[in-house]
């Protein structure tokens, strides 16, 4: 038998994979084999650890040493020093893990992880996602066994209801209610679906769960199937997530081999099997009715509700559809009891929520915090604040369906109801941080550009209305805004909200409405003063050289990509504003602060 004394966990999530963690794994395996250590040190490719900013990430157990920004070249140092001689290579550790007195602190005490509580992400970065037995070792499939042998479907639904779990896809509908409705629908055939069509720009928590812990989704779907009386499941995943799809397919294959999918699971008369359906990345296919239409092989378009999917869903049969992260909570609620889950979070939002931190933030990555954590804790304590000492301006949650949370609401306790109350929404959990250099009008334009692009075109308010709104916003950022534009925007937004067919259209105006609510002055500055307070909108900027400060060093002229700066050596230079691209390169390069922007 192999005598494994140390595990080298290398992150194989999309983030770290794209910065070459695959090569790092190969190098570890090669060097360990060369040095004869391959029988005592095991290399494991895991899912995402969350701290994507510091990737590629490697953790060596039993010490729990957290190496960040790994390179293939540094592998030999870890093998020679750490794995052979047992000396942790401190200078390669994640900077914050090394204390001032040169001792190493454990991962749980690092700022990024200290305030986190990992439930949905429990196994991400801890197990080998391509090995079902490792999942079983961490209590995997125990909940399914318990449900099938000890509980009735009604009891399962009752536990879900009492736990207070709400849909993590964004809308926050109570999961137990959904299951209850589907269980009450009479039919010979029912379906269980999983929404893994994570389309919000900047959101990647579902991907990480599928990549790091695919079996949890399979187990939870089987539990849901038992609760409502279904025997077939589908995971609808976007084809842009190749690693997630591959690991999920491996997981399904393994579960079948172990008899955890198929007929007579755990010796009972419960049968369940599932398949993966790939989406081509249309945003609207994240909407439940469009998603099911797409699984049926038709063009992904929404349809009016009711009838709700719990009554008439996939192939016209009762269906439940939950998000990946929602499912990731289910087995643990069964194992630990609803009381455990309901003890976390706020009054109406229980448990934890995973957020994908992105944008102007030091620690880009994936964080899971209890509901009710303040925005300030997420942005500053966990995320490390905005880089380069810039000032925090707003956080955008909920993607194109959500809104902005301005700095004045930094201390809001994050849960479904509080976010809705201030005009944003939980959404799937993308959190894009913006600093003083971001123009809020342009942010609204960006998100609307996205929804116009992704509108399926079935209903007029969304197809035509969002297009008109985008045109107005484009005019404003180009300095051609007119008096009355703000009112037109508001009017259109409210009409679209009230009349669009599906969730995509109804929420599309949210980014505009919430930026108007909190940053109306920026809109007004663009329209009436033709200036962009954040200095972002290029059409509204002019660059100028102060002749008194210019030393004529020619540095700006040499760096100008448009060649629009002229002047002789040791004489003041001049920018031809008609040719200027407004890229700002000259201002960055000038050593004398002679160039200004207005």
């Amino acid at each position: 038998m192999d005598l494994i004394r140390s595990h080298v966990m290398v992150c194989g999530g999309t983030g770290c994979s794209s910065s070459n963690s695959g090569e790092i794994i190969k190098e570890f395996e090669k060097q360990l084999a060369e040095k004869g250590l391959d029988k005592e040190v095991k290399v494991v490719r895991t899912g995402c650890f969350g701290l994507c900013q510091a990737g590629p990430v490697v953790i060596v157990y039993p010490e729990g040493a957290f190496y960040s920004h790994m390179t293939v070249e540094n592998v030999s140092r870890i093998v020679d020093e750490h794995l052979i001689k047992g000396r942790v290579v401190k200078e390669l550790l994640y900077k914050e893990a090394v204390e001032e007195d040169n001792t190493v602190k454990s991962l749980d005490n690092v700022d990024f992880y200290k305030k986190q509580k990992r439930i949905a992400l429990r196994n991400c970065g801890v197990i080998d996602p391509e090995n079902i037995e490792e999942y079983i070792a961490f209590d995997g499939y125990k909940a399914l066994g318990k449900v099938l042998t000890e509980m009735t479907p009604e009891e399962v639904i009752d536990v879900m209801l009492k736990s207070g779990l709400r849909g993590r896809g964004g809308a926050g509908f109570p999961t137990g209610m959904k299951w209850k409705f589907a269980a009450a629908s009479k039919s010979d055939k029912k379906y269980v679906c999983c929404n893994a069509d994570e389309g919000d720009p900047g959101a990647f928590m579902d991907r990480s769960v599928l990549e790091g812990d695919p079996h949890v989704v399979i187990e939870a779907m089987a539990i849901a199937a038992y609760a409502i009386g279904a025997d077939q499941g589908y995971v609808y995943c976007r084809a842009e997530y190749p690693i997630a799809v591959k690991r999920l397919q491996i997981a399904i294959k393994q579960a079948r081999e172990y008899g955890l999918l198929g007929k007579n699971i755990f010796g009972t008369d419960f049968n369940f099997d599932m398949d993966v359906r790939l989406g081509a990345g249309a945003f609207v296919c994240g909407e439940e009715t469009a998603l099911m239409t797409s699984i049926e092989g038709k063009r992904g378009e929404p349809r009016p509700r009711p009838p709700f999917p719990a009554v008439k869903g996939l192939f016209g049969q009762p269906t439940i559809l939950n998000n990946v992260e929602t499912y990731a909570n289910v087995p643990q609620i069964i194992n630990n009891g609803w009381e455990w889950f309901a003890s976390m979070g706020t009054e109406k939002s229980k448990g934890t929520k995973v957020f994908a931190l992105g944008g102007k933030i030091c620690n880009t990555g994936l964080v899971e915090v209890p509901m009710g954590t303040t925005l300030r804790e997420i942005i500053y304590d966990i995320g490390g604040g905005c880089p380069n000492g810039k000032k925090f301006k707003a956080a955008q949650t909920g993607g194109p369906s959500g809104g902005c949370i301005p700095a004045s609401h930094l201390d809001i306790k994050i849960d479904y109801d509080n976010l809705t109350a201030i005009g944003s929404m939980m959404g799937s959990g993308g959190m894009i941080v913006m600093d003083e250099d971001n123009c809020m009008v342009d942010i609204a334009r960006f998100f609307l550009d996205f929804t116009v692009d992704e509108s399926c075109g079935k209903c007029a308010p969304c197809r035509i209305g969002t297009r008109r709104m985008l045109e107005i916003l484009e005019r404003i950022v180009e300095g051609k805004g007119e008096d009355g534009d703000i009112e037109k925007l508001e009017n259109l937004a409210n009409t679209i909200k009230a009349t669009a067919l599906c969730g995509l259209g109804q929420t599309a105006p949210n980014p505009v409405l919430s930026t108007l609510k909190y940053f109306r002055d920026e809109y007004e500055a663009h329209i009436y003063e033709k200036r962009c307070p954040a200095g972002h909108c290029k059409k509204l900027l002019t660059y100028k050289i102060d002749p008194a400060k210019c030393k004529g060093c020619t540095l700006c002229a040499r760096n100008c990509p448009a060649g629009c700066i002229s002047g002789k050596v040791r004489e003041a230079h001049y920018i031809d504003t008609t040719k200027c691209l407004k890229c700002g390169a000259c201002m960055e390069k000038c050593k004398f602060g002679a160039i200004s922007r207005s």
């Binding site: 004394r5 070792a137 066994g145």
Partner: protein, 122 residues
């Protein structure tokens, strides 16, 4: 999967393979000096013997780790045993043959092997 017992069997078999990654159930650490001096004096066979002995006995709440030079190179191979809430015990001039007794007396029964310690041999 036909029964819960089958699932429990897989879990029991796998748990020792992943235990290294759980910090909370580690009560005892066996640390082997593996600097140049330790390796030259034969620390590797000692460490491997520890791992094998623990495995043989099915002990899963003990980790075997390595460390650098403690400064007493003439006493290598040196092995330090840290039991939770107890004072560290340092064994010197360790050999693979001595390992079984350390595991039996100290790790399992909680009685350090006095005659192998630095106090007796240093």
């Amino acid at each position: 999967m036909k029964s819960l017992a089958e699932l429990a069997a897989i879990r029991a078999r796998m748990i020792e393979q992943v235990n290294l990654r759980k910090d909370d159930n580690i009560d005892t650490r066996i640390v082997v000096g593996m600097a140049t001096c330790g390796i030259a004096a034969g620390a590797r066979p000692v460490m491997l013997e520890f791992i094998e002995e623990l495995k043989r006995r099915g002990i899963d709440n003990v980790t075997v780790a390595q460390t650098g030079c403690v400064g007493m190179c003439r006493l290598e191979p040196i092995v330090e045993v840290y039991v939770k809430d107890q004072e560290k015990v340092t064994y010197v001039h360790m050999t693979p043959e001595k390992v079984a007794r350390v595991v039996n007396d100290h790790i399992v029964n909680g009685r350090p092997v006095e005659e192998y310690t630095i106090g007796a041999q240093g």
